[in-house]
């Protein structure tokens, strides 16, 4: 069984054989994956190298904690003799969408629609956990679609503004 696993944006092709060996980068490896608590915690041995992983599956993604770092893995299995219906890559529209990274209270809005901004310039201040968090523009451009005002409560993922 062949897979392409995308880990943190990097594609890693590998093959899992019937006998449990895994081929990776053209080399075969002895692999053992053991559940520890019947839930999230796993021990993985690859050719005797030991890895401890906490794994959570969320919406088809594997979130994997390893050595204190969180990695996101998506698994694709390969079809044989079939041209895959590859969707065209999302064209960069040049538009940056500013979303609320967490629920919170809009403390103040630092820009207006139509205003030119520099990369990294503050756009909105959001209060959460008693701290002001400044949301900054990821690029240079012009603000549009600004849809919040001071005092608004916003949900996580809510679109606050765009920069084009």
């Amino acid at each position: 069984m062949r897979y392409i696993v995308n880990v943190d944006g990097k594609d890693i092709p590998l093959e899992v054989a019937e006998d449990g060996t895994v081929s990776l980068g053209g080399r075969g490896h002895q692999v053992s994956l053991q559940s520890i608590d019947g839930a999230h915690l796993f021990s993985l041995l690859i050719d005797n190298r030991s890895y401890e992983l906490y794994v959570e599956e969320k919406e088809g993604e594997f979130q994997v904690l390893l050595r204190g770092e969180m990695h996101v893995a998506r698994v694709g299995s390969l079809l044989a003799k079939k041209t895959p219906a590859v969707a065209p890559r999302e064209a960069p529209t040049g538009e940056a969408v500013i979303k609320a990274p967490m629920p919170g209270l809009v403390v103040s809005v630092l820009v207006e629609n139509g205003q030119g901004v520099r990369a990294n310039q503050g756009l909105v201040i959001l209060e959460a956990m008693k701290m002001d968090n400044e949301l900054r523009s990821p690029r240079e451009g012009t603000v549009h679609g600004l849809r919040v005002a001071a005092g608004d409560k916003v949900e996580q993922g809510e679109i606050l503004a765009m920069v084009k």
């Binding site: 895994v22 204190g68 701290m131």
Partner: protein, 496 residues
């Protein structure tokens, strides 16, 4: 000694205080907001009482309800922890009036030290050097002229401040207005008081603080310093005891100044005197904190003294059990504050449920934690979820132990700043001890994943996917077809 102590706090510090009470054989009372029903402090205490909805002003800041619970539960003392009502003179007074001992200094000392402007004046009178700045509250229109007089860069600080809140830096005149309004707003939100003053930024300075212990009989000693220069946005993140910057002579001089500061306001209880130490080893009084500090464990580890138990003994009227010459500091201790913040995403708060947790232990490692599997990190409270402290015979051993401990620490469900701490502890300037309060500003956090870690993640994910969704198993592709897929780029474009 008391019979029953109410702990007017939550999270790791409530558990810390409850542990001290239990070791002293005291009965304990917890209070909790609606969303904290299942929290560690509720389960750890002998009794627990609800005091209102999640927002702190409706629960943990409700003095009336807390005093009422103390009366109903017949508690004879209230320990405020840090934050919330810990430095609220009105609360200390309300306790007094209800005939309940407030575990802290008397209201007058809290008020004096809490007004940072008054404290500056008092300490100057007591002969302590202070940073150039204003010695009175400033109206909006006075800020700019005073700023010109003092000179940039400068700090706008809340007079009622503490814990790094209500503080903003302005490096140029044009930054002044927004810094001023931000500081006032945060100060109003955090302390209900938007009064601010200005202090010159001392470039290249370290933040050094001294732990004070004073009883109600006029005895005052210090327990040495803590090095708190590793800060982000004026929030301490890593603290040590002792500091590499201090010689025995300087420690002696600063310690005596700290004791003088405590005496100047007739202080009793635990307290902390904060100093700036500039590159020429001149020190300046910064402020005095009239509470137990977040970072008290590093002092406990090098002194062997349980500060919270001593604080309770002092509050019950006992004399200090130590003279200055009894204080023998041994080895080195480091603390990392673990916060639910996303280090690779500008430290935005990370909320959610803790679904997996493994805390480090073993030789030389101590954890003070407020979390558990099932705990919900919410937006209502401070993102500090736990503290790890490591002790070593030397600074090097303490750093290596801390790295080992952070390596073991696993928190699943929310993002934490653990990778950030690991990076700091691996930084050569940090290891050499060559840093000041600007250290973190200059540092970039880069997610440096090892190649074989990514492979391991890929292998685990593939094996789990193959086990969990056998229906997804499709015939293997031939080798030739592998490459187009890879060129196709990110996984999300692959149809499932």
């Amino acid at each position: 000694m008391f019979k029953k102590v109410l702990v007017a706090n939550r999270g790791e510090i409530a558990v810390r205080v409850l542990r001290a009470c239990r070791e002293l054989g005291l009965a304990t009372v917890a209070v909790y907001s609606d969303i904290d029903r299942g929290c560690l402090h509720v389960r750890y205490a002998d009794e627990a009482y609800p005091i209102g909805p999640a927002p702190a002003p409706d629960s943990y800041l409700r003095m009336d309800r807390i005093v009422d619970v103390a009366k109903r539960a017949k508690a004879d003392a209230i320990h405020p922890g840090y934050g919330f009502l810990a430095e609220n003179a009105a609360f200390a007074r309300a306790c007094q009036e209800a005939g309940i001992v407030f575990v802290g200094p008397d209201p007058g000392a809290i008020q004096m030290a809490g007004d940072k402007i008054a404290a500056r004046r008092t300490m100057q009178a007591a002969g302590l050097p202070v940073v150039p700045g204003t010695d009175r509250a400033l109206l909006d229109e006075e800020v700019a002229p005073e700023a010109e007089r003092i000179g940039y860069s400068l700090l706008i600080k809340a007079a009622a401040g503490g814990g790094g809140k209500g503080m903003r830096i302005a490096c140029r005149p044009e930054e002044l207005p927004s810094a001023l309004s931000a500081a006032r707003r945060e100060a109003q939100a955090a302390f209900g008081d938007s009064t601010v003053y200005i202090e010159r930024v001392v470039t290249g300075a370290r933040h050094i603080e001294f732990q004070i212990m004073a009883d109600q009989h006029g005895n005052v000693i210090h327990l040495g310093e803590r090095e708190c220069s590793i800060q982000r946005r004026h929030q301490k993140l890593i603290e040590e005891a002792p500091s590499v910057a201090l010689t025995p002579e300087l420690r002696e001089a600063m310690g005596q100044a700290a004791v003088r500061a405590a005496r100047a306001i007739g202080y009793s209880s635990l307290g902390t005197v904060e100093f700036l130490l500039d590159r020429s080893k001149n020190f300046y009084f910064l402020e005095m904190n009239t509470r137990l500090q977040v970072e008290h464990p590093v002092t406990e580890l090098v002194s062997g003294i349980d500060l919270v138990k001593e604080q309770l003994r002092i509050a019950s009227g006992r004399r200090l059990r130590y003279r200055q010459e009894d204080i023998k500091l041994k080895g080195w201790a480091i603390e990392c504050r673990i916060t639910a913040e996303a280090p690779y995403n500008d430290f935005l708060p990370s909320i959610g449920k803790i679904t997996g947790l493994y805390e480090p232990t073993g030789p030389g490692v101590r954890v003070d934690s407020g979390i558990y599997e099932g705990f919900e990190v919410s937006l209502y409270y401070d993102p500090l979820i736990a503290k790890v402290a490591a002790w070593g015979e030397s600074r090097g051993e303490a750093i290596l132990r801390m790295r080992r401990a952070l390596n073991e620490y696993q928190v699943v469900g929310v993002k934490t700043n653990i990778p950030f701490h690991q990076m700091v502890l691996n930084n050569l300037r940090f290891i050499r001890g060559a840093f000041d309060t600007s250290f973190l500003e200059a540092m970039d956090l880069v997610k440096a994943s090892r190649e074989d870690d990514l492979s391991a993640v890929a292998v685990a994910a593939a094996l789990l996917a193959s086990q969990r969704r056998p229906a997804m198993k499709l015939p293997a592709a031939s080798g030739e077809q592998l490459s187009p897929w890879r060129r196709a780029g990110r996984w999300r474009v692959v149809p499932r």
